[in-house]
Assembly symmetry: C3
Homo-oligomer: 340 residues x 3
């Protein structure tokens, strides 16, 4: 059970309600009115809790689990222990997410403008916003309804935020237009000028950065990540992108819809990612590349060429993953041969 | 055109004025009094805007551009479309930078000490400083004229900043002496103790970090980068260094003049870079190295040995770039052979 | 000598006192009452200062040093210059740390709750705490005695800090339980939700992150590092762990006692490190791994498999370091052969 100092559980909920909320199918014969009070991992769940099985790796834990109910792929029904009610789903992890959200819904935002917040007279705030202590909202900024601005946040002049957007403690935003339901975590830096200058022996000459950052709806940006504004075109983060912590997004970068950028990865200036690209942890893309739809870039890869749609690449310089494994294996064999 | 909510354009300017401001040569026969109102990329520029061509890669766009004027290398004059006025320059990107700065000059700083800023009585501020909401300036700190201290910035005790230096939102500085015209972007951390301790099975013993960070004039440090103070000698950032976002500079590191450190790169303790070294994105240097003048370290390289002046190295462990490409090619061939 | 604007030296101390404080053995015949006023590097130390020799690399400097006293391994006594008093230690760097701490002890914390700090009425603070300007302490937070909360820090609701814990400027903590004598440097982000969501073409579905971050005693976390809270189990940082700047610790990660994580390294979700693991700079561990006790992961390594206790691994994908060097050497030879 989640620590009640930090989390408040809702419920209880019946199996029928859980099935309805999550779209799962309740296994034939299960008691629709059986009550569940919380979510829990397979190992610790008890008879009044619901768990989930998302990977073959945990089948053993599933078979031993004391969970009263479990979300599983229909393929595993015959492995279930006696007495466990099953919620069947082709996407058990997504179904679990919806069930967990039902038990731990996002808290209703209590509107409040803290007396120590500095809100410029010309800023406009939608109804139901909450602005925490010490936050600063600049002139002509526009916040949609129910925005939650954390303590010490700095919202620059003329910045626009859509409804239900949240900005975490100490983050700063300037020169940007942000959509609805965006989650910007603590310490994120958005809209500062990009790394643009003309190198010169007599002293590098800074090039004015005249674009913005445009962040579409439903984006999440992890703690201490940085997104520079464009040079003239904009830096664009497409709808539903998920960006992890300590990620760098350079000027003029364009991310399509639903891209996933894992921790400490970086994208250099003017590179474009089409929809649903996955960039794994610590990977880097040089500038001016085109990464096709649904391409996958493995962790720590260094990508120096365009990547076609659907491809998976790995290594530095990155190559198709099949080639990467061949090269790695060839090198292992070569090194062994030298030993003999 | 830049979004007027965020940027204010100056001008208009005549071609003669642009030539004078930027040092470019106006092509013979061009109308010196022709008026230009803004900068714009080749693709979108119109007859009253000035663009630039900096790379062969964009010659096609240049030939099709509707820009009224364009900054180009003299080699490309014969490719210019009819009616385009040419500003000739051997360094088109630097020339563009100066032209763009003429249209978008740095705004005059409006002096102000925000009523919510906490400025210790013994701190001394030069004339014309601007200190934003919630900033904290410690005892005995000294700020030169026209410093701009962003919202929520923390300037530690006895810190010294030169004239015209700017510190972005939420950054924190301690134990440092900073020069003039330095730009420190949001979230930067300067002067915290370095990662110095004696490893010990009974518990690591922290070593006091008794040095400072010394930052020379005209340096730029990107968002959320970190610069630790020295252990006894100082950590030194030379004049005109350009440091990107999320960069780590360890204790006792010395950067010469004009070094360029790209995003997410890291320099470990006591390593010294001579003038004009370029460290590309996500590269790492171990401690106690010497990197010669104008050396270039490719992206993601892991440098474990000294690098001579002028060399370009690549890979992990880093080798001269020619060797890196040979090794990469040899491995590709080896892997292919194994397939047959 | 350390800049007196930033550091205050204690002392002087006699050699006998230094030997007692540090556990070093004063060389037979040395003057127990000789007075030392400061620590200094070998190159710059004078006759009233104490230095140390920790590596063969600096023997030359040791032989030329004018330091009045020096901490050395007994093996080097015969290289000492005339007149230098020797403090003998098997662990010279640790001994130096203790001596330096004697000259530069941690300043006594002057209790103070700054008038601009926002401390919720239900928060409880131990005696002797110092809370700097603009800090925010949430409802029901509990701080032990003598905590030092920096300017602009945000301590979330119900967060618990042990005695003598310090949080640097602008850091933010939520959903965490922190031990005693912990040092959290500026800009650190602790307790935000981890990067957990069910990928879905119709829009990724965020999974509620219902765990906490548990940080044990004597931990240090470097500037701008990020530690996500667990998904249900907790993220755990064991006693005495040393974490450098810009490090990413994912949800559910468990670090044993005394682990060392160097700058810009990252640990993905649910990976477990046993005691005293060293993860060098920019290295990355994928999720769900087990890293055995005292394993060492070289800089920039990409670890994709479990690592046994005591092993040293290197490379991406990481292999035992002996294999890594063999592979590197084999590739160098192969590339050379191709040239011929």
């Amino acid at each position: 059970m989640a620590d009640p100092r930090f989390f408040t559980v809702s419920g209880p909920l019946t199996l029928a309600e859980l099935a309805e909320i999550s779209g799962a199918k309740l296994q034939t014969g299960a008691d629709r009115d059986r009550v569940v009070v919380d979510v829990a991992p397979l190992e610790t769940a008890g008879p009044d809790q619901v768990s989930f099985l998302d990977s073959k790796r945990y089948v053993e834990a599933f078979m031993r689990s004391k969970a009263g109910a479990c979300i599983v792929n229909p393929d595993f029904t015959d492995r279930a222990p006696d007495g466990m009610a099953l919620l069947l789903s082709e996407k058990p992890y997504k179904t679990y997410a919806l069930v967990a959200l039902a038990f731990y819904p996002k808290a209703e935002l209590e509107p409040c403008l803290h007396e120590t917040a500095i809100i410029e007279r010309t800023a406009r705030l939608g109804e139901g916003c909450r602005v925490e202590a010490g936050a600063v909202i600049g002139a002509r900024a526009e916040l949609g309804a129910r925005c939650h601005i954390g303590p010490g946040v700095v919202i620059g002049e003329s910045v626009v935020l859509g409804a239900d957007t949240m900005v975490g403690a100490g983050a700063s935003l300037s020169h940007c237009l942000v959509g609805a339901r965006v989650m910007i975590h603590p310490g994120v830096r958005i809209g500062q000028p990009g790394f643009g200058f003309a190198m010169d022996a007599g002293g590098h000459v800074k090039v004015p950065q005249l674009g913005r950052v445009v962040i579409h709806d439903d984006v999440e940006i992890g703690a201490n990540s940085t997104v520079d504004r464009g040079t003239g075109p904009d830096t664009v983060i497409g709808p539903g992108c998920m960006i992890d912590n300590l990620v760098q997004i350079g000027h003029n970068v364009q991310l399509g819809q639903g891209c996933v950028i894992v921790a400490q990865a970086g994208v250099a200036g003017s590179t474009k990612l089409e929809d649903n690209v996955v960039l794994a942890a610590q990977a880097g893309l040089i500038g001016h590349l085109h990464i096709g739809k649904e391409a996958r870039i493995a962790a720590q890869s260094g990508v120096m060429r365009d990547v076609p749609a659907g491809a998976t690449v790995c290594g530095a310089p990155a190559v198709p993953i099949r080639d990467f494994f061949r090269q790695t294996a060839a090198l292992v064999r070569l090194a062994k041969r030298k030993d003999e």
